[in-house]
Point group: C3
Chain length 341, copies 3
Amino acid sequence: MALRKSSLNGKSMITTQDLSREEILEIIQVAEAMQKHRFSDEYTGVLKHQSFLMFFYNPSVRTRQSFEIAATELGGHGLYLEPGGMRLKTKDRAGETIEDVAGVMNRYGCGVGIRILEGKLDYYGRGDEILREYDRYLKVPLVSFAHDRFHPCQGLADAMGYRKHLGEHLEGKTIVHQWGHGALARSHCSVQESMLICSRLGMNVRVAHPPGYELDQEVIDWTKQNCAENSAEFSVTNDPVEAYEDADIVYSRNWMSTDAYSGGEFHKEQEVEKAMQYTDWICDEEKMKLTNNGFFSHPMPVDRTHEVTDEVASGPRSIILDIAENRLHVQKAYMALSMGS
Amino acid sequence: MALRKSSLNGKSMITTQDLSREEILEIIQVAEAMQKHRFSDEYTGVLKHQSFLMFFYNPSVRTRQSFEIAATELGGHGLYLEPGGMRLKTKDRAGETIEDVAGVMNRYGCGVGIRILEGKLDYYGRGDEILREYDRYLKVPLVSFAHDRFHPCQGLADAMGYRKHLGEHLEGKTIVHQWGHGALARSHCSVQESMLICSRLGMNVRVAHPPGYELDQEVIDWTKQNCAENSAEFSVTNDPVEAYEDADIVYSRNWMSTDAYSGGEFHKEQEVEKAMQYTDWICDEEKMKLTNNGFFSHPMPVDRTHEVTDEVASGPRSIILDIAENRLHVQKAYMALSMGS
Amino acid sequence: MALRKSSLNGKSMITTQDLSREEILEIIQVAEAMQKHRFSDEYTGVLKHQSFLMFFYNPSVRTRQSFEIAATELGGHGLYLEPGGMRLKTKDRAGETIEDVAGVMNRYGCGVGIRILEGKLDYYGRGDEILREYDRYLKVPLVSFAHDRFHPCQGLADAMGYRKHLGEHLEGKTIVHQWGHGALARSHCSVQESMLICSRLGMNVRVAHPPGYELDQEVIDWTKQNCAENSAEFSVTNDPVEAYEDADIVYSRNWMSTDAYSGGEFHKEQEVEKAMQYTDWICDEEKMKLTNNGFFSHPMPVDRTHEVTDEVASGPRSIILDIAENRLHVQKAYMALSMGS
């Protein structure tokens, strides 16, 4: 599949909700072609001698690997910038402004990626504000590497995996996002992105979580609207079992409660303590039997024995490694379409 | 501009003062050509498959980005070595000697860069000693990534910017280096390098700072001598305003006082506290009006509202982003001339 | 020397003892060719656009440099993964399992390297177990970057150095591994790998250490067996001098005592305190005079004045820099043979 000039050229990606349905499908289709012809000359020169700036406020192994390799396989260089080396202005500390950091990045790189979440933020939503502030000053494309609200590359990788295992037409298929207990107090970004992209592609979207773990109301509203536009259904329940019924995909994942931030702080220990009480909230074989021979999905890293049993995570219906691999392909596709010349 | 065999081949750069005037101009002229033809085949193979070793005792985002990208754009690889991973001998700790570290680097890399300043040093001048000790054992070129005394790449980037905005002939133009208050207790290296290179290129050099912030006497002596050789003028004042008069370039920057080191320690907090008292020492629109419609220059990161107002830093006469971009070009030029085969 | 399809293709290397004698010699011979023709087209495309995943539980400058440059010189990319960025499951902490980490690496990289030793382990031997657990889940080759028991690349570099300085036929030559006092409480891996590879290549192997610094009994048994198969001799002594007699190579190195781990902890300070008492255990000119005009060998970094005097380490019979350089060549050779297509 030859790369053509795309409407994505020069375009940032903070969430797939900001893209058109056609752009989402274009990225996935190019990713599928890139997977088939991974080291084809068609792709290995797209970012030749170009540098992609990867800015990690929070560390991550998976995101770093997949983006740095994406840049490498497009012929370019992924430049890893670490939190420790930054001298950024914060509310408590003198340092460099986003205007200045972004202004220099425009001169150096072909694109920028930023990861910021959890303890690096004062309140939920601040990460999205920071990314949008960078984007105002950036002339090159900005892509979220996961922030408090969204994780567009994970959503694209998920959707690519569902297409592989459920077929190209996802319309009418059902995904359940089940909150899982666990010791990691994770962000909302992966599950919220999944709700948005799955509903864009016509899937019925279900969410199940204990009281107190409500997701972003605006994301719920967008998901409802996406479902309405695609004749799909949306539902939320507080029951750990009923949402599994006839589901095609089970997406089990811990996320933090609505009390996770207060007084400008992220309260990780309190979140873990609270979450660990809900021992029923785990994806296991028994619940999987209620599904339509469903697949198990998870953005990894998996918190095994909390979010999901080993039996399910390593079982024959688990597609987590396929989805992890897709991260590489969708990121290459997005980068080629937005940053390639 | 084709790269020719240069007297810089194999040559280290600890300060531009160690280079001839012709070598300084050669680097800048090659950098100007590289800016025009950034990804030309002329340059992208110069360090093909070569590794440039980047040794950061102190972290830095700008220097890391610009050198790692420089290596990439020359077809090579910039290898980032972090302070945490080093097991170097120090006065208090068993570890590897500079002789041994450098001896191995000679076998592996095409060149070496080192950054060392502030809290990594026992006293002012120690960083320069350490670089010169590395240089004694290195057979490949060594370039300073900023150390306590000098910052040659910043000086070259500054001069390249002044040529762009003031014209190729800088003789007779005037630059004022104004100390700024601020919360970062910065090193002397950038401003001292600027004094040296500007005076080499025939500019009148002015320095303004409060009492107690005197710069390196040897650098002052060299600057005077450079000025004398180029029919330029040199002056130092303790007045925060008068030096602006008719200046073509205003370079505002905080630097640490003469008391910053004592007892083998760098006293950052005490420095910040002292510096923050001098609230008059800021570059603002009012002072800029005294200049010859001067440009605002700064090596970044800028400590806005302390060293300079937002109005000036983001204003139409600010050339800080051009200069930051120049870091890439002058570094590529120096690396190509010194490390290319 | 053209690269041919090798029995090493797809093969991991946790210790050279797991390889055949022919495979060991193949790596060294390819490395010798790669040293002669370092940037030959024959080699610079072997891992083109491929990413090699470098996983450092413990930091290291030498290993990082030599592997990252090896990947670069083969046309690929060495991706440095740091301990701080990992969220791995441990006995005390929720996190990702080795099964999952390895499962994703299979999708992303052409090979994996891991370094794990000292304070990252609960007991001696645990590092080897962890590497073998990774290897069970990895489909791409795994190479040890040094772990508690073995350091195969160091052993290969040593042997390549001995061939250069003693001639291709090492049969009948004598190496003494002398424990040195020192302040670094080092692992057994380098010296144990040296014992194994030297005995495979027919050298007489001697070990000298104070009581309480006994090495791994299984490694001693293997070394004895290797010696028996190659008509070579093996001996252990507690005398700091006698083993030097007529030796061709003196390998001086500190290593931790048999009490270094207890209660799930690595007791570094106690080890250093104990080791520093044995001030007689240093390689010096006087002892070197007892040898057969022997060479001084060390895997670096050297703890000078403890393990060896400056006079010997920087003297004319020191081959430590040649051996450090060999790390690059043997690693390129192993990677090309095991990971190249």
